[in-house]
Symmetry: C2
Subunit: 324 residues, 2 copies
Amino acid sequence: MAVYTPVSAADLAAFLAGYGVGSAVSFKGIAEGVENSNFLAETTRGRFILTLYEKRVDAGDLPWFLALMGHLAAKGLPVPGPVADRGGQILQELNGRPACLIEFLPGVSLTEATPAAAREVGAALARMHKALADFTTPRPNALGPASWPPLAARCANESGNSRLGEIDADLPQAVERGLAAAADWPAGLPQSAIHADLFPDNVLMLDGKVTGLIDFYFACTDARAYDVAVTHAAWCFSADGRQFFAERAAGLMAGYLAEIDLLPAERAALPRLAAGAALRFTLTRAYDWLNTPAGALVTRKDPMAFARRLTWYLDSTPEMMLGG
Amino acid sequence: MAVYTPVSAADLAAFLAGYGVGSAVSFKGIAEGVENSNFLAETTRGRFILTLYEKRVDAGDLPWFLALMGHLAAKGLPVPGPVADRGGQILQELNGRPACLIEFLPGVSLTEATPAAAREVGAALARMHKALADFTTPRPNALGPASWPPLAARCANESGNSRLGEIDADLPQAVERGLAAAADWPAGLPQSAIHADLFPDNVLMLDGKVTGLIDFYFACTDARAYDVAVTHAAWCFSADGRQFFAERAAGLMAGYLAEIDLLPAERAALPRLAAGAALRFTLTRAYDWLNTPAGALVTRKDPMAFARRLTWYLDSTPEMMLGG
């Protein structure tokens, strides 16, 4: 939540000169996205987000992410489309970083979902999946089930002993149960390009409607039902994971199912997929927790918030996930 | 350069309900100001900056700062005016912090000044001083000459030995010379409310004109010529302080003098005042440098950038400061 690479007024003017978007009227670094530097640039012709991609994003993946966003924007989905320069180029370099000018979308991110908002988000997710039926270039999910055992192993000290217990006494067992469950991963489910990170911060809303799905930098090809599971884990619990909100879950799933009628195999797989999603966030948060200096100004996100969801999903049924 | 206190969509909606400014259309945390949390809030009726004041700002000073900004905005100066709520109140509390909704001003901060930009800034500074002739409530300058010897003393270890030499071998002598010069501080100069921190980041420009003077949270009552000296030190050197740009200085001073004809005593005092201004930034940067953990994500600002200016001013004349 910071600007890592500064961009001066002169840098901006030179950058914008390559586009047909007018000249800068206002320019603010914004605290959005954990991985990249983002600026809100207003020009004489409109408003844009300028993103400089920092080290954690693989530059080789950017053309795929930007093509995905462009595909969805062109179909009228509420997704910010990348803007091409006068030469038709989308991906640029600025101050030593890959960079892209992207449409600005209105809306405000919810901090806590209501059932009605969850329904809108479920519907928006399904419409996104439908619009991606003809987006067939694959990108493997680098944070899929195969990555979880090695990621758990990296949460160990030099002697190979797990450090998860340093974070919370309940964490080692939750991860162990999650890994055991994920070893029997649902196969053969319908695939799609998926968002894979549709948390409330990545959804903009206005007057109860979704106006923006943003931050596609974890997007990949995977089971569409896994995207539903990630979104379920992100929207249907209290922040600390202690409380499940059945009405939000009912809203989210009703919104999705009104657009896409999940197959019986997908419905049956939901608890296992959601446990996997919760394990993915538990592990990435645990790794970051163990590798973030205590004095750093970055807010560490508590892995237990997702370990609790993981435990809930391991004991859940498809009916429970639908809020029944 | 971060958001220290988060504000949720629900917090914002409840806050805005107290105003007659419509409801939120967009809301972004912005990386502006070192001390406070700032958000760009667009509503159905306009655009605003929402500022939450963090610990380093004394809440008791806020009414004075906000009155100053309101005074200047009401006179048509390019200063963001605080917005009153439906009950006429300007200063609020939000999430445990003092908070204020402030007009949004267009413009982009220059990183490096041109002589023409410096002239506009000089003129804007003088027009601000003129508009403050009837703003007579005083606020002492907490970072004035009386504060510099104790601040230098706080840059010492527990045994009382100065740590300035840990930063740079040239720093102790520069500070010593600066303190000696400041002991003979110019008295009896015309006073005004002054900005006292008019660095390029605190000036917004558009099409070569000043559209915003911002960040008044170091403002105080002091010699108006001291404000000129601070602005001179901020605008007329390379970032590292190694190079003086006479043309920028000529522009800045011509712009100011076209609006306010400084008295002979003020002109004569300029080198001493500017050495003091350079000492003030050298000392606050040195203190922050010595007290910022090396691993922290806050960018430490190099005290030598101002120690070099200090040395330059100690050897300068009023003519040199005017770019002659």
